[in-house]
């Protein structure tokens, strides 16, 4: 199941996509935004799994920066304002596409996303991630954890991203509460 963000300036296209996606399986939550600022804001807060972005929108940050705001599994689909050539990439849709074409492409993406996700869902935190989580919950910084576990800060950060994605908990105090509830750390540890 995927959270979808439609980033499209044209009111008509946006509304059209909303109504199409509302009828499509696999969409849990749907948001739409038209203004680059609102798009940025929604990207950060909503953390979508699939983003339908009109390729003509001038975003205030680079594409790489956009990617870094999202989780690893998130993917982009580009809305193109012209008809598509024969051999266009699978993640391009055009405002000229027929309903069937659009439904076909969007369902495909949603299915693909679901299959990557389902594997994840049965997957709990790995022992490594649990170890990192334990240290985070005990109040260590990324740098301290890196030194303690002989890994790079970068690795710690990427583990933390995965932990947050799997648990749906972002803040350190939230992670601490989770760890206490699940016995990863004990009350005495933090007093």
């Amino acid at each position: 199941m995927a959270k979808v963000l439609i980033a499209e300036t044209s009111y008509l296209v946006r509304k059209g996509l909303v109504s199409l996606l509302e009828q499509t399986d696999g969409v849990t939550e749907l948001k739409a935004a038209g203004h680059p600022d609102t798009i940025m804001q929604t990207l950060k807060e909503f953390s979508p799994d699939i983003i339908l972005l009109n390729s003509a929108i001038q975003m205030p940050v680079s594409h790489d920066k956009l990617l870094s705001l999202l989780h690893d599994k998130a993917r982009f689909i580009y809305i193109i304002n012209t008809p598509l050539p024969q051999d266009s990439p699978a993640n391009h849709i055009s405002v000229f596409d027929t309903k069937n074409k659009l439904t076909e492409k969007l369902s495909l993406h949603l299915k693909q996303y679901e299959s990557t996700e389902e594997k994840e869902e049965t997957e709990e935190l790995t022992p490594r991630e649990k170890l990192i989580l334990k240290h985070v919950a005990l109040g260590y910084t990324n740098k301290e954890i890196a030194t303690k576990l002989f890994i790079s800060t970068h690795t710690v950060i990427s583990h933390r991203k995965n932990i947050t994605r799997k648990l749906d908990i972002k803040t350190v105090s939230g992670l601490t509460v989770y760890s206490l509830i699940n016995g990863i750390i004990k009350m005495e540890d933090i007093q």
Binding site: G34, D37, E45, T171, Y178
Partner: protein, 244 residues
């Protein structure tokens, strides 16, 4: 429904009761009788377009309120945001806290989970209060004096000094995310805790946390995408009008 000046206020609320929050924050009293939006706004001294823009945004959720809302005096928006703050501090937050306290007292599981939730929420309250205090005591007064002094022939000397050493952009950079922790609390309750004995209470706490979260989201959008851009523009105009 399309919201127009002639729409009856009571029809508006009946079609979308979430708009009651907007009315409350604009301090519009009940007892609408058959009065239209236009009439009530006139009676209450609220600019009609300001009301329509806010109400349409909350109701339709489709357009970015920035461009339209930015054309009004900044003090109206500040007033609105302030009244939203007191709504959080005086009502929503204490209410959720009380409910968590009740949940804790009903918890017979023998564990400490509800106690943890309470501790977590109280931590949140202090962060939340600090966030709002900063806005109420520093940011909003700055914005109001900026607007006031901009309209003067010559700005007050102390304010001129402040204005030359400060920009609202500094605030934007450190404007913290007051929703994050609340979302965590919600997810922990939803995903990792078995409800204590009173299910109805548990569900209600969740509903209230969801509501507050959505409301805070709107609040942040008004602050970051309307208020601050408007102030940035006003700062520019101010420095053009009163160059060094």
């Amino acid at each position: 429904m399309h919201i127009s000046p002639n729409t009856k206020m009571s029809d508006l609320v009946q079609s979308d009761f979430e708009l009651l929050a907007v009315l409350q924050r604009l301090k519009i009293p009940f007892g609408f009788k058959e009065k239209s939006i236009q009439t009530i706004c006139r009676e209450e001294g609220i600019d009609l377009n300001f009301f329509l823009n806010l109400a349409r945004w909350y109701h339709e959720r489709d357009f970015f309120p920035g461009e339209t809302l930015m054309n009004h005096p900044v003090k109206w928006l500040v007033k609105y945001l302030r009244s939203t703050h007191s709504c959080y501090i005086e009502y929503h937050i204490p209410r959720i806290e009380e409910e968590i306290i009740r949940m804790e007292s009903l918890d017979r599981s023998g564990g400490h989970n509800m106690q943890l939730m309470l501790k977590f929420f109280r931590e949140y309250i202090s962060e939340f209060t600090a966030h709002i205090q900063l806005e109420e005591e520093k940011i909003f007064p700055y914005i109001l004096s900026l607007e006031e002094n901009f309209e003067k022939e010559t700005p007050a000397p102390e304010f001129l000094k402040t204005a030359r050493g400060y920009t609202i952009k500094d605030f934007l950079d450190e404007h913290s995310d007051i929703e994050e922790k609340l979302v965590d609390l919600r997810n922990i309750l939803l995903k990792y805790l078995a409800p204590p004995s009173d299910n109805c209470l548990f569900t209600n706490v969740l509903i209230e946390i969801f509501r507050l979260g959505n409301d805070l989201n709107d609040h942040t959008i008004l602050e970051e995408n309307v208020l601050i851009p408007q102030v940035i523009k006003m700062e520019k105009d101010f420095h053009n009008k009163f160059p060094r």
